[in-house]
């Protein structure tokens, strides 16, 4: 099979490009520690969230110095708790699940972006530095009221932060 020289050059360039892509992403995933969503969150009984130790009471909880965990329920067509209040300069691990259909979880303007699947728990870790307020929206179609499904994440200055799972 005779391959034209230009074709050979192009082929080599294409392969280099692809290998380049794969290595940058792999580097991003392993070395710099960009967090990927995986199966770490485990599973849950979607019709018995009120009996589940993690989700019976949607809340933010301190688990270490500057480390927090947020247990969030995304359901037709709200997020609980709302707002989700966290202190500045903290690392927050979100655990999110749904009692009904698939939802999305996007903290607007950040790369905190994940799917929420009933029966599964989505785990993602986000670092909050400056105080401020972020929009939280559902970006997966979840029913007739999908476009109204929003919430907010309030990052309070550390000294003002009061812990609470108020809904």
């Amino acid at each position: 099979m005779n391959i034209h020289n230009y074709e050979k050059i192009w082929l080599m360039a294409a392969i280099l490009l692809i290998v380049g892509f794969i290595s940058t992403v792999t580097y991003g995933a392993t070395a710099v520690g960009v967090d990927m969503i995986s199966d770490d969150g485990g599973t849950v009984n979607a019709s018995a969230l009120d009996e589940d130790p993690r989700f019976s009471e949607p809340r933010v909880e301190q688990v270490g110095e500057n480390e927090y965990e947020a247990y969030v329920i995304a359901q037709q067509f709200i997020f609980r708790p709302d707002p989700i209040t966290v202190p500045a300069n903290s690392t927050v691990t979100f655990f999110v699940t749904s009692p009904d259909v698939i939802h999305g979880f996007e903290i607007v303007g950040t790369n905190a972006n994940a799917m929420v699947v009933p029966g599964q728990v989505t785990e993602l870790t986000v670092e909050f530095n400056e105080p401020g307020e972020y929009g939280l929206l559902c970006h997966e179609y979840c029913g007739a009221g999908h476009h109204t499904m929003e919430g907010s994440v309030v990052v309070q200055p550390q000294d003002e932060f009061t812990q609470g799972g108020d809904e």
Partner: protein, 596 residues
């Protein structure tokens, strides 16, 4: 142009194979009806979500969006595909199909399946019936559609399976007559694509027939949403290549001739199609990068495979440009870039395909962003994503199909196109409209504006655009969408008016032979059993562990997850009439459900 065609007087496809030409016509017409309806819904979306003009209550936006998605990416593309594949198989084998009644049977199944699904979707507009399927074209469980929807999808897919078998039968018959010859290039492309389709549809067939249809009929209490979603994407990525392969077939085998030249290399074209067969399916998990319940390692594997899938597309870019350049030089073009001027830009078929190819390059770029797992976090499920695939399937594929129609239609009807200048304006208008709409979508996506949302305006916060303003971008999207709608109207009317053109014979357009013929390539390339076997092994390797882990973690079905029918309030939906239609449609769906 007419007299030119008459002078050459080559018999057209219709002159030679009138029965097959009728099937090609029926498929293309079905495809264009879907395109037209899809464009109406597309326009409604473009105006509604940008708040330019809203005449429907926002809950119906999702009925519209389901119709747009299904009509465009299932009906329009796949009906066109079977039309082109039927033409390409018969033309390149130079023999009729084995049994034309069988051919009409698969066409009929595809048509019935489409009608069932469309009825179920449009039922969503009529609250007094309990028929609805507001589940979008991805139909993620536990949102539940009416059984007609799932039944229709199943029948449609069976139709495509039988179509594939038709092409294999024709090839088998041809092989008996030509024992030592290489598979003709177009037939090779058709067969490898159909093999890819058989593998890909295993996923969606299991999701629909084993889980969703019985579940919607009440025979199954619950399903595992992560499992059906994963099975959906098992099919959902390769289907992208199923849309793309007929466009590639046209770029490889028709575009060089229209440019006045010859395809660079037949062997390389075969390599490209084999690569698609091998690599299209073991990548679907790249649509689930941000899903829970799937380990990071499986996502990395899908990502790596996806990157390799760039290879055949990059090779295609080379071959297409090289063949066009060859054509231009044959026509007297010179210089490093000067040859571009020698191309037949007045020919709508050429210009449309060339513009489609150009947009595909842009789409390929935004696709690389999606495929990079970490960057994906920024754009996942934002309107960036529709911005991306309106360049790929919405232009590279759709515009190539429309442009190729200007070339193919006269050969399957024996009637010239009504107006070539309108055709030329139409393809340019599509390009301009899409440049606007897709650009606006990409930019808004970067600012976090979600896709699939009737009113992307929120109470508690605003989207902040770092350049331009969100309002400007909305206007741009709406304007682009309107131009695209007008372009579709021009296309559909031009074809409809062509039926009034005088019938003539001798409209055939012969295709040129590749510069480097099939004989230059090793015979093993034509060993379809081998490639099919390797493709199966790759799919099993990519999917066996993720599927096993989903099933061990949350079961084949997950009893905790209850169905959520996408119905308008059941209390006022259950009038006497709808009770009857409901019973009737359940019977139909039950009967239909037995067929697979």
């Amino acid at each position: 142009m007419m007299s030119e065609a008459l002078e050459t007087g080559t018999p057209s496809f219709m002159d030679r194979f009138p029965q097959e030409a009728a099937v090609v016509r029926a498929s293309l017409i079905s495809s264009f009806i879907a395109l037209f309806l899809g464009a109406v819904f597309g326009l409604i979306q473009a105006l509604h979500r940008t708040d330019v003009f809203r005449f429907l209550d926002s809950q119906y936006y999702y009925t519209v969006l389901t119709a747009h998605g299904v009509l465009m990416v299932v009906s329009f593309t796949i009906f066109f595909l079977v039309g082109v594949f039927t033409w390409a198989t018969v033309r390149s084998l130079d023999r009729p199909l084995v049994d034309i009644r069988y051919t009409w049977a698969w066409y009929g199944l595809m048509a019935i399946g489409t009608l069932m699904a469309v009825v179920a979707i449009l039922g969503g507009f009529i609250p007094s019936t309990d028929i609805s399927a507001d589940v979008l074209f991805t139909f993620y469980a536990p949102m539940q559609a009416h059984p007609l929807f799932y039944g229709g999808l199943a029948i449609f897919i069976i139709g495509t399976w039988l179509a594939g078998a038709d092409y294999f039968r024709a090839w088998y018959a041809w092989k008996q007559e030509h024992p030592d010859e290489r598979i003709p290039l177009q037939t090779f492309m058709v067969l490898t694509t159909m093999l890819m389709w058989y593998i890909a549809t295993i996923g969606v067939a299991i999701a629909v027939v084993v889980f969703l249809l019985p579940w919607s009929l009440g025979l199954l209490d619950s399903v595992n949403p992560l499992l059906t979603r994963t099975l959906f994407w098992f099919w959902g990525h390769p289907v992208v290549y199923f849309w793309l392969m007929p466009a590639y077939l046209l770029w490889y085998t028709v575009l060089p001739s229209i440019s006045g030249g010859r395809l660079f290399s037949d062997p390389l074209a075969r390599v490209v199609f084999v690569l698609f067969l091998l690599l299209s399916t073991p990548v679907g998990i790249h649509h689930q990068y941000v899903d829970p319940g799937i380990a990071e390692g499986f996502k990395m594997i899908a990502m790596t495979n996806t990157m390799f899938l760039l290879l055949p597309s990059l090779l295609t870019a080379f071959t297409v440009v090289a063949s066009m350049e060859h054509g231009a030089r044959q026509r007297g073009g010179t210089g490093l870039f000067g040859w571009l001027r020698a191309l037949p830009w007045r020919n709508p078929a050429f210009t449309g395909m060339a513009l489609a190819g150009l947009m595909f390059a842009a789409g390929g770029f935004s696709g690389m962003v999606n495929a990079g797992m970490n960057i994906n976090y920024l754009v996942h499920n934002t309107i960036w994503v529709p911005g991306h695939f309106h360049l790929t399937v919405g232009t590279a594929v759709a515009l190539t199909f429309m442009a190729a129609t200007y070339w193919l239609w006269p050969q399957v009807t024996n009637k010239p196109i009504f107006s070539r200048p309108i055709a030329l304006a139409q393809v340019v208008l599509w390009f301009v409209g899409m440049a606007l709409m897709s650009n606006a979508m990409h930019v808004m996506g970067l600012f976090g504006v979600p896709r699939r949302t009737a009113e992307p305006q929120y109470q508690g916060f605003d989207f902040v655009a770092s350049f331009g303003s969100i309002t400007e971008l909305r206007m741009q999207l709406a304007l682009g969408g309107t131009l695209l709608f007008l372009s579709t109207i021009l296309f559909v009317s031009n074809i409809a008016l062509s039926t009034g053109s005088p019938r003539m014979s001798g409209l055939g357009k012969p295709l040129s032979e590749p510069l480097s013929p099939a004989a230059d390539s090793p015979k093993v390339l034509d060993n379809l059993t081998l490639w099919f076997g390797i493709a199966m092994v790759l799919v099993v390797l990519a999917y066996i562990l993720p599927l096993a882990s989903i099933i061990t973690d949350s079961g084949i079905v997950d009893p905790g997850v209850r169905p959520v029918p996408m119905l308008v309030d059941a209390a006022n939906g259950l009038g006497p009439i709808s009770a009857v239609t409901d019973a009737a449609s359940r019977v139909v769906a039950a009967v239909v459900g037995v067929v697979p």
